[in-house]
């Protein structure tokens, strides 16, 4: 089933930031979002993930199918790598954590506490979480922050495997992941002053 976004307007702080966004994500496809800082990529992703109400338009096929990953990985420093992963696996009733450990080269760190990992290792653990959710649509906000080249390649491989298995990915990123992906530049969708004014509209 496709994820379809139609005429979507998203808002940050009560003000429309992107308007008239359209795209379709089919099984096996990835879409890379580009745009300068503050252009509304994060807001768009959060809206698609259902964390924020949309202002106008429609999102279909996203409900309960999304695995979301943002800047914060939601890791617990006091828990080990396996415990962190295992927790999310059981919350999402997803597959076992072995494949995820292997894909992100976390085997050797399995029993280490998340608090003792380096920034890049933490990030890898955060991304490995996506695999244990068993969800088809990955919505990723700057997934490669603090990853070195080898880890980025590891991540790209994981995404490719996910797509090959019929998954989808919506990724906001600045770097080239070497994926066969469509690119959507969000700059043209920038909401103009005359667009929907958001929460304050009634007061103008």
């Amino acid at each position: 089933m496709d994820v379809t976004v139609t005429d979507l307007t998203v808002a940050r702080g009560g003000l429309a930031i992107l308007a008239g966004v359209n795209f379709t994500l089919s099984p096996g496809a990835a879409l890379v979002l580009r745009g300068p800082n503050g252009s509304g990529k994060t807001t768009l992703l959060r809206t698609v993930a259902g964390l924020q109400p949309l202002m106008a338009g429609e999102i279909s096929g996203a409900e309960d199918r999304i695995a979301y990953a943002a800047h914060a990985d939601g890791l617990k420093a006091a828990l080990s790598v396996t415990e962190n992963l295992g927790f999310w696996a059981s919350v999402f009733a997803g597959p076992s954590i072995d494949a995820a450990l292997d894909a992100f080269d976390l085997r050797a760190l399995a029993s280490r506490r998340a608090g003792h990992l380096s920034a890049g290792q933490k990030r890898r653990l955060g991304l490995a979480r996506l695999m244990v959710t068993g969800r088809p649509v990955w919505v990723l906000d700057e997934p490669t922050v603090s990853l070195d080249a080898a880890s980025v390649a590891m991540f790209a491989t994981a995404v490719r495997a996910h797509l090959a298995a019929g998954g989808m990915a919506l990724i906001a990123t600045h770097i080239d992941l070497g994926l066969e992906a469509d690119v959507l530049d969000v700059t043209p969708f920038r909401a103009l002053a005359m667009d929907v004014q958001g929460a304050d509209e009634a007061f103008l």
Binding site: G13, G14, L15, L192, A193, Q197, A199, D200, E201, A202, F203, L204
Partner: protein, 252 residues
């Protein structure tokens, strides 16, 4: 023409401009007449002496303290169900007025209680309930002040108001259970036998009308202020947005 038209901020402002002078005037006239009548031209009560004159402040303020919360509850419900901004802002505008009414009721109650009960403060169920109501008001106002995004603040305070109402009512019963109290019964009720004597009754009614007018005037005026704050915010946001776009167009 439906009442909901006035949920539009601009229409609301226009209406309130027209109504406000009458409300301020009504409040001033009723309060001056009622209080002067009550203070200068009513006899002392044979048991309570001249302290009975406090009734003209205590009863109306206590009534308004509860009515203000009730109004906030209704406004919060309207905001949750129909998302009219004016409604949320009216709830916000009413809270500080409610705080003042509660304070007046508490202070006059304490001053009245001193000669009557021989103590400034008694943990009487009614006084205690008002103290709890006062705390609820404080929390409500503090939550409004603490949250930056106005719509989120409206949502959160509306839910707090709903939950708070349930707990305020529960507290009222709990407090009754906990202490039977020495407060006199209701001063006004439909049962004529229980009412205060007529000499006190009519000036009291005038004072209540005065407090009602004053409350309405204050809430309407303060709601207007809140609307203007939001409008200023909206205008500035639009201005910033337009300037940004102009600058970009120049650069490109």
């Amino acid at each position: 023409m439906s009442l909901w038209e006035y949920a539009n901020p601009v229409k609301f402002l226009r209406l309130s401009e027209r109504v406000l002078p009458w409300l301020w005037g009504g409040a001033a006239i009723c309060l001056v007449v009622g209080l002067v009548w009550g203070f200068f031209f009513t006899p002392d009560d044979f048991r309570q002496g001249s302290t009975v004159k406090i009734i003209y402040l205590h009863v109306p303020s206590a009534l308004m303290a509860i009515n203000a919360w009730f109004m906030m509850l209704v406004a919060s419900l309207i905001w949750i169900i129909r998302r009219h901004h004016v409604s949320a802002l009216a709830a916000r505008a009413a809270a500080p007025v409610g705080i003042v009414m509660t304070l007046i009721a508490l202070v006059t109650g304490a001053i009245w209680g001193q000669p009557m009960w021989g103590t400034w403060w008694a943990w009487d169920p009614r006084l205690t309930s008002f103290l709890i109501l006062f705390l609820f008001y404080l929390g409500y106002v503090a939550l409004w002040e603490a949250i930056e995004d106005p719509d989120s603040a409206a949502d959160l305070t509306a839910i707090l108001c709903l939950v708070g109402t349930v707990f305020a009512v529960l507290s009222r019963y709990a407090v009754n259970f906990w202490n039977q109290g020495l407060h006199q019964g209701a001063s006004l009720s439909l049962d004529k036998e229980e009412n205060v004597a007529d000499v006190f009754y009519f000036p009291l009614l005038v004072c209540i009308a005065g407090f009602v007018f004053l409350f309405l005037a204050l809430v309407l005026y303060r709601t207007g202020t809140e609307i203007r704050v939001r409008r200023t915010r909206a205008l500035i946001a639009r201005e910033t947005r337009t300037t940004d776009l102009h600058a970009e167009a120049r650069d490109a």
